[in-house]
């Protein structure tokens, strides 16, 4: 039994970097994202008997994190609506977390998506899950995930095109340098 326990802990540790990236992409703030990751670790630890070693730990943790986020959002629903302006303001104070203006713009665009579209495009486009796995994590049909991802892409394009006209991002000369630093 102790070896299984160690294996569980080891797999959980290995999945933590992507779990944090998922939380951060969903929420946009390090402090709240890490609080959510902590809640997820506690929940997962308590439920570890439900996890079969050798199955997909990452997908399992993502599911727990997602459910935890939505149950917290339901509890705080009114709070979040009331502080809409405040929320946007705090986002505006955090962008130095992303080195380039380009990514700050993208972060803001991502935050404007409805939550279901945001999580769909993150799971499929960044976390490396298949549409099927993403549908399992979100507890919805495959077709639903596909259409959410498509709508998310369209919406992001619209938002970013509008922003592009403001001439706010890096110019043509610096764009390759700033984006390269994050891609490589």
């Amino acid at each position: 039994m102790p070896s299984e326990n160690q294996e569980f802990k080891r797999e959980m540790l290995a999945a933590l970097p992507s779990l944090r990236a998922f939380a951060m992409s969903l929420i946009g703030r390090h402090d709240r994202a890490d609080d959510l990751v902590q809640d997820t670790i506690m929940k997962a630890w308590a439920k570890q008997d439900h996890f079969e070693i050798g199955t997909n730990m990452k997908a399992w943790l993502f599911t727990i994190l997602r459910n935890e986020l939505y149950s917290q959002m339901r509890k705080r629903g009114r709070e979040i609506q009331d502080s809409d302006g405040h929320f946007t303001e705090t986002l505006a104070h955090h962008p130095e977390q992303y080195g380039s203006l380009d990514l700050q713009d993208f972060r803001r665009a991502l935050d404007q998506l409805p939550p279901d579209q945001r999580e769909a495009i993150i799971l499929v486009g960044a976390s490396g899950f298949s549409y099927e796995e993403a549908a399992n994590i979100c507890g919805c049909a495959l077709g639903t995930i596909k259409s959410r991802v498509n709508r998310a892409r369209q919406r992001l394009q619209e938002i970013l095109q509008v922003q592009g006209e403001n001439d706010y991002g890096p110019d043509e000369t610096s764009a390759p340098i700033t984006s390269r630093a994050f891609v490589s």
Binding site: S18, A21, V37, G128, Q157, F182
Partner: protein, 110 residues
Amino acid sequence: MSSVFVSTRKRPAEKKVPRWNISFFSCVMVQANSQGDDCKMRYNSGAGRPIGTNASTGDPNAQIAAKLKALYQSVQEEAIPARFLDLLEMLDAAEQHSTLQSQSVLQGRE
């Protein structure tokens, strides 16, 4: 450790990300050369189109995909904060403690 889960799966509906580094550096070489002597590398470098061409005319979906991944990876590549390592140690220790306790209780009954 952070790279364990990166890009092992197939990602559907995604176009290739433009390779900035190649076109950017060859453009720099062309510019540097054209300031000095006659440029030997100008034509065999294969570059010469304006910097940023890929960004402005490239598939917008590919750009969105690249930015989303860049954002995600910037967090994924951070070291795991100590608070989580400590938390796991604590949970582990608490569990071992309770296991030992329940074992000694059972042994005591025998």
